[in-house]
Symmetry: C2
């Protein structure tokens, strides 16, 4: 499964795997794909350093990358000093805080222990945190830097290019993709409606070729709805130079969700059990549909706040729900492909399935096309 882009990056298969877990990222690269570590959860530079060291030690010299989050729209900083989390906290209405408290109380969600930090912090979404992540990451031989929300700032693109690091950015529309191209981005990840996490409302079948045409000759990775070799073949038929998979790794044996209940929910969920909701971050993000997302999407409730306020508002609540595995509320970003995530498998097993399924799909399409010898 070789495209110009996979050759340029020196990987065997044009399969890019996004994951928050270092063990999964390393396993994807070892299997012949390109592992991309999601950095958003690293608020302490030393934690990121520790995990990049681990990847270096376990990736067998294969290439890998890093994904950061630098939202295009920022909360405006006070003129005289750097924006703090407290500044952002002060923008959250009391009624919304009460709604969080009431909802957690309704389900009997226990408090965190005294002094116990919330596991998921909004700070990773703030540009200065992403910049400290980059300061760490550029000391490692990363080959790709991806940004989830908008184009990264010009100086970051320049710094990446100076170090021979390709820059990728996610786009949910051709218009956004063209902006990325104008800003010197090297690779566009066309993220369809069916994807986990932040998405627009245009499905991959329509979005992928539209983005390919709009940013030609830049390479495009197709994201959203891909978890089998058939889907890889479909995405590449649409003109993509590779696929970008996120959800499928969540139920691999190398993933560490810290929650057997959440893994069970993912394995049991069907393709219709996700929802695009603003509950997690304030922007529409596909995730498991739960009583928590229902509460935020209920027109009788207070509704969600804009990014980054919503994420800050619910950070501690989400940590509590996850820690105590409060099942009706327990969720995670995941795409519609969750319907096909029905058993725990190793990353290598997922890869074998992808590559074999791809070959079978190519056999079949050749038969349909009447190509002899196939």
């Amino acid at each position: 499964m070789q495209t110009e882009l996979s050759k340029k990056l020196g990987v065997e298969h044009a399969v890019f795997g996004f994951t928050p877990f270092p063990a999964v990222a390393a396993a994807i690269s070892r299997a012949g794909g390109f592992g991309v570590l999601g950095a958003v959860r690293y608020t302490a530079p030393d934690d990121l350093k520790r995990d990049l060291d681990w990847i270096e030690a376990h990736v067998d010299g294969r290439p890998y990358g890093l994904d950061v989050v630098m939202p295009a729209k920022k909360v405006e900083a006070p003129k005289d000093r750097t924006l703090t989390e407290a500044d952002v906290e002060a923008m959250i209405p009391e009624g919304h805080r009460q709604f969080v408290k009431d909802t957690l109380a309704k389900y009997g969600v226990p408090e965190l222990a005294e002094g116990e930090a919330s596991g998921w912090r909004i700070t990773g979404w703030m540009e200065q945190v992403a910049r400290t992540q980059l300061d760490v990451a550029f000391d490692y031989p990363i080959k790709l830097l991806a940004n989830a929300l908008g184009s990264p700032p010009a100086d970051v693109v320049e710094r990446a290019h100076d170090q021979n690091v390709l820059v990728a950015a996610l786009a949910g529309s051709a218009r956004h993709a063209v902006k990325h191209k104008e800003r010197g981005i090297d690779i566009v990840v066309a993220q369809g409606y069916e994807a986990g996490g932040h998405t627009g409302d245009i499905a991959s079948m329509v979005l992928t070729p539209e983005v390919v045409e709009a940013v030609d000759p830049l390479p495009v990775l197709a994201a959203g709805g891909i978890g089998s070799g058939q889907q890889v073949a479909a995405a590449l038929s649409l003109g993509a130079q590779g696929v970008w998979l996120g959800s499928i790794w969540l139920t691999t044996t190398e993933a560490d969700l810290h929650s057997p209940a959440l893994t069970r929910k993912l394995l049991a969920a069907g393709s219709g059990d996700t929802v695009r909701s603003r509950a997690l971050t304030g922007k529409p993000a596909r995730q498991l549909r739960t009583e928590w997302t229902d509460a935020w999407d209920d027109t009788n409730g207070p509704g969600t706040l804009p990014m980054p306020l919503q994420g800050l508002l619910v950070a501690e609540a989400v940590s509590r729900i996850q820690k105590y595995e409060v099942e009706p509320l327990l969720g995670t970003p995941v795409g519609q492909i969750v319907g096909r995530m029905n058993s725990e498998r190793s990353v290598q097993a997922v890869f074998d399935d992808l590559t074999r399924g791809f070959e079978r799909a190519v056999d079949r399409i050749n038969r349909i096309a009447g190509r002899s010898g196939e």
Copy 2:
């Protein structure tokens, strides 16, 4: 582009084209595909007879089919007599009628002339009307009978099979597809989220392979988001035995929308300019987003009524908007592929583009797969 199903039906390309226009249906079959005439707008049997005669005279002996609408959920009929349109009319709340009047008045939409019939009637959605359509259609050598909402009744399936007519039914989920299989349906049309008309919320990339697996060995047609040869290749990679295209024909030269303004709107629209709204029929149907759909989807409005009441409620209004081409309100069911419908072309030109694009996509996927001699 040959699959078992296309061979069985005796067509050159596994491309099924749904259209309300006889000239388009005949042109699709003449071009080597399989034309399917949508019958919902025919309330008078003689009109349907006239148009099927026309197709017979213009299809050069090629096979074609008919699409009817028999909703699975029906309005309950009075015990002592047949349900009339007046019975259904009586179920519509006065507030909703007033909202229609007010919205039309706000945009200055003129009245129809005295005695002028509404062009689009709800009656086509009622089972007894669909049955009169079938009584007409079974006198013609149709090869396929498709039903848009749910499985057709058992006696209809039996009658079709007695006449060697294959029965197809649309499904937006694997669960619905399995029900079709249990009821003896021959072909499932997996209609993805991105499709025009009634859709569920699962996108084609995920839905198609899920339905293929769920109803194996029944053949599946992929619908939703398909308008280019790349997309045909993608859909066939996903395991479909053919593709089902509806939107793409709306801007062909053979189509007769009776509205230059609507054609202009379709040609100008981008993939993000559609919405899944209950405004038209009471069930979520993808269509051009307009100020009319916005009014119905507005939480400050009365909201929509369930099928078939909504369709009955808005039928005359839609006719008036169409007749007088009131641009802000003017819309039509259409899928996200509308973003690629940018010029008026003949059906044959669309077909040439589909088949050439398919061959190019197969060439490309073979290069990526490293297949020699390709």
